[in-house]
């Protein structure tokens, strides 16, 4: 089936934003911008009939099909995908959990590089997203603004002369803009500085959240900085607010890493090497544990303490060891305990000896 081919193609590669090569990419994983847009002559999703949802989906799809640049875009009807496939797209950050779990007509358009995606019938009729590796908010803004202009074409958006772009939730009204930068801050966590650092940022109108817990892809010392408000500032100003905070966090994290090395390089070297050892040799391993050790290895690679594994590989493993990815790569559904065995095999084949081709599994 057509949809399945597109998904398999995605699964065989990894998204552009995981390259790990953008500016400050030792600490900044990705820069993401999204825009919320609604069609003016339909109710918001909450009050949409099934006919309305179909009509919105059709309008958006017709618009996209007319764009030359969109000939290579993967268009997926999310309502027709299996639970594993939907989860797979969530793990890759191509669709939101909300879109995956919703009911009724809904879709996503994804460019082959996975730099941008457009969700249709999420909380708003359209959610445009652009994602880059490293710290690249200016690029991301230019790209998404162009995408926004292109899509607009024959679509009349819901706009208010005073309030700007209208959204289902009043927290997104105005620009409909959400800027998020994802950072990897393991040294601030180890040195127990992280809360202190964030408390010092409280005056600035940005939101920082750290997440951990089984099943969450954001475990492993990842933190996300995003703008809090969307109305009354220009897009540039909102991006600026986030851009100003990120270098501070990068600086704190670098200082914490240096402190760890100065204090006892041997201990740190031992710690990250053991983490790699566990990932290479474990026979079964949970998602949470994997995140925990991958986070250490990632820092070890950045500090030059581990040389056998490229950064891109580590970034990819964070995503590929998630439940739906494992099941897709394995080609069938797996129970949680089987997944832990499969995950250990997968890690071993990709990390042991740093070989390009996975060694045979026994």
């Amino acid at each position: 089936m057509q949809q399945q081919l597109k998904l398999d193609e995605l699964a065989s590669r990894c998204g552009e934003w995981l390259r790990g090569t953008g500016p400050e990419s030792d600490i900044v994983i990705s820069s993401r911008i999204r825009l919320a847009r609604n069609l003016g002559d339909f109710p918001f999703i909450r009050r949409c009939s099934q006919d309305d949802r179909h009509a919105i989906e059709r309008t958006a799809r017709n618009r996209m099909e007319k764009l030359d640049q969109w000939s290579t875009v993967h268009y997926l009807n999310v309502s027709q995908l299996s639970e594993v496939d939907r989860q797979f797209l969530v793990e890759r950050q191509l669709i939101s959990r909300e879109l995956a779990d919703a009911e009724g007509s809904r879709a996503v358009a994804i460019d082959p590089n996975e730099q941008f995606s457009v969700m249709i019938n999420e909380e708003d009729h359209l959610r445009l997203q652009v994602m880059h590796s490293g710290l690249a908010l200016e690029n991301a803004w230019q790209q998404i603004s162009e995408l926004d202009d292109m899509l607009e074409g024959a679509i009349t958006y819901a706009v208010h002369p005073q309030y700007g772009y209208l959204t289902a939730c009043p927290t997104n009204v105005g620009t409909g803009l959400r800027v998020s930068v994802m950072l990897h801050l393991p040294a601030l966590v180890i040195t127990r500085q992280i809360e202190k650092v964030f408390r010092s940022l409280q005056k600035i109108s940005v939101t920082v959240r750290g997440l951990y817990g089984e099943g969450s892809q954001f475990t492993g010392d990842f933190y996300q900085v995003s703008n809090q408000i969307t109305l009354g500032r220009t897009e540039q100003e909102l991006i600026q607010q986030v851009s100003e905070v990120v270098p501070l966090l990068i600086d704190y994290e670098r200082r914490a890493r240096r402190f760890l090395i100065d204090q006892n390089e041997q201990d740190l070297h031992d710690d990250v090497s053991r983490a790699l050892g566990i990932l290479c040799t474990a026979k079964k391993i949970s998602s949470e544990e994997t995140m925990h050790y991958l986070s250490k290895v990632r820092m070890g690679v950045n500090l030059g303490l581990i040389e056998s594994v490229p950064m891109k590989k580590i970034n990819e493993l964070f995503i590929q060891t998630q439940p739906a990815h494992l099941q897709k790569l394995h080609g069938r559904l797996l129970a949680s305990s089987d997944r832990n065995v499969q995950r250990a095999c997968f890690l071993q084949s990709h990390l042991a000896g740093g070989r390009d081709t996975p060694p045979g599994l026994n």
Binding site: G40, S96, D101, E123, Y157, H160, Q162, G213, S216
Partner: protein, 182 residues
Amino acid sequence: MKCQYCEKPATFHITELVGPDGPSVTHLCEEHARKYLSSESPTPLAAVASALAKQLKLGQTKEELAELDRKACPVCGITFYEFRNAGRLGCPFDYTHFRKDLEPLLANIHDSVEHIGKRPKRAAHAAGVQGRAIQLRREMEEAVEHEDYERASVLRDQLRALESGDDAGAQPQAEQPGQGDC
């Protein structure tokens, strides 16, 4: 430890590092954590709820609030009560219909009530016209459902006229005969 929203055990522990009262940890079961995490803006419902609570302190009486709760949008039928509970509006016209009540809320959330950023290149129809279009489409669907095809085709013509800009002064109609408020 139990989930903060239900009786299931909490398996997710989410740290909000920047909040009004400093860092705080939220303990949730998987289901509630998914809902919590799927909203990109940190808990929009909470933001709406706290802004509304502030508004309430600023002198709205219980009776005034009860009356506001009953107020419904003529286009999509959503009541202010439903919005308050869901944190989501029903249609673009709500920003016009509930303007007086939403504006203090916007000021609370965004510290502003005026958009100064990008605007679409195409001029949008007036809010009233778009609201009327939503109404007509719904009435048309209802007519088809009741196999009243004659009425459906009249409504379709009205909708086309509206969308081609022949009726620039259209406004949503307050009372729609036979319109169920679901």
